[in-house]
Homo-oligomer: 200 residues x 4
């Protein structure tokens, strides 16, 4: 199956999900205090919006880089891609829940951290599964030796360990969740990552 | 008429509809119990989200496979495609209604099952009509003999009988609706279905 | 300027707008009567959803047919295209307003009819302006003599007179608005309209 | 990295954001005065909708013109593009806030003006940064001498000074914000701007 429509559909889902993040930005028109007071109260929503915007942005960049390695997709890869998108699409919900409950602190904030962590970990696992599928099932345009492939999966997979670690630290101090996930997004954005050594 | 924009438009509608499914995931910020309690109460919404996500995902995969058989579209096919999309777009509504009313049980739950069934049956009928149009009106890139075409339509159409059956069982025990539709999605996802024997 | 991205952007806007129509379909989970009663009350929303879905669907088909006549776009055409899309994007709002106020009757229903009429008339005028631009400013791939072009614009423009007429009749009997606009959509869908005689 | 998917993703985000602008158009079905009265009260929402629709429309036209100058993108350009989109996606929120608070006047209206100004200024700065990246890092298909490039950036950058000026005047008289931003959109739409002299 040609990869073109899988890319187009994924781009569409990522574009809609990234835009829906902004639905959590809103203020009440009347009777809820001055606008500047409301905007001040809503700072976690603004920070969470920026962080999740770059989380989805980085997913898009890496999705792009990964699909550049292949020419065609098989059904298992399409299924893994759907699992990836299923976690991406939960981000507007888990982002707004995190923004709403961080200021409350306590166990509510920690559950919100965990929920946001599930979205992020789900995406990381789906990504690694996709890379593994591409390497081990002959989908690569320019196949690599098994040890090179396995090293790439481990390196990519190691990166995904960062998400559980950040989530664990977020359970201790909830605001760290936004700081840590934001730092990972900046890192992945800045890093000139080569997914595979043969990759231009 | 070239099939390219029909695919692009369909991909767009499917991408938006699949993403809007997540709008039903939400919790109240304050005064509605703890977050973990709310998340626990919302489990039907999470299950329904996953099931309908794969329902739309499978539609996208099959839409893709079906359009790979043809080069051009005619007005009737475009109309049938719009009918298909019209039922797909109702899914966020019928999914959230099902999730809200299953826990209530009784006749409310059964009406919600029926509503969700209508979305799914509408899609199945529109798909079979499209396949029939492609086969019988000379749209196939590699035409097949009439008996091969009719067998393909029957096999595809037989699959659609599953939806009324699942709906009927869901009317008896509402939670079965999610189990049955989810199982059908997994089946269609896993199955290496060849729509036509001549299909690569 | 190449027409490709103008088509892609228009397809995106049309796909989102057609999907947002379904946001008006919703029921209350508890304390608002049984589900079947609510669904019965919501029939104008269902009818309006189907009608407006085909209105946008027909716009998409005609947009497609019109852009097939040209290779490139100029700034004025892009501006006219934006005006067209601006009216399309109001449809979810004017559709839900029409569905909400038709059952009320009286002057509220008539204002809702007028609002829905403005969406439809705006689209019809923008379409005719685009066709005129294409014909009179050398954008056609296969140019036509002035009298052939003017006949095409008149025929297309005559069609647009139908919208004010339907709106006027809707002001007399509001439910006619849905019947009339729906009939026009079916007519445009069924009709094998050739925009220009030279058009394949 | 090929520019194709960056364009497709940007088109998707712009298409969703422009369509979500209409979510701020709504009226209450019952018990909130007649429809005509509600529509009369909502005029700032209608004006703000039209203005922001053309703001995003103009961004799309210029994004298109700018990407026509290049063949490939680098990571920094992708990051700048994400920053641009991040500000675009805030527009439905800042537009509806502006529409809600302009009629209130006073400091609430001025904060809403500032918020809307931030969306617009962020987009203008991101655009200028992208043009500068294209010119100074060898991304142009047809490179230009440094002084020609710098002149283009200055001319484009000068345009962006308009946004702070309009915002400052809006702080004095809030309704000017819509008039000024609308006038800028019409100016950019009407102007046959050549981004670079070598640009066809």
């Amino acid at each position: 199956m040609d990869k073109g429509r899988a890319e187009a559909f994924s781009d569409g889902v990522l574009a809609v999900a990234i835009t829906l993040l902004a639905l959590d930005l809103h203020v009440e028109a009347t009777g809820h205090g001055t606008l500047v007071h409301q905007l001040g109260q809503a700072w976690p929503s603004f920070v969470a919006y920026v962080v999740s915007f770059f989380v989805i942005g980085v997913i898009w960049v890496n999705h792009h880089a990964m699909f550049a390695l292949i020419d065609r997709v098989d059904r298992v890869l399409l299924f893994e891609n759907l699992v990836l998108l299923m976690f991406v699409v939960t981000l507007p919900f888990t982002t707004s829940t995190l923004a709403d409950f961080i200021p409350e602190g306590g166990s509510n904030a920690r559950w919100a951290v965990l929920l946001y962590g599930v979205s992020n970990m789900g995406m990381a696992f789906a990504f690694t599964a996709m890379l593994s599928r591409m390497i081990h099932h002959g989908l690569l345009v320019r196949p690599v030796p098994p040890d090179v492939g396995n090293r790439a999966i481990r390196r990519f997979g190691l990166g995904t360990i960062a998400y559980p670690v950040v989530t664990a630290l977020g359970l201790i101090w909830p605001p760290f969740m936004l700081i840590g996930i934001g730092a990972l997004a900046v890192y992945y954005m800045a890093e000139q990552t080569q997914i595979l050594p043969s990759d231009g």
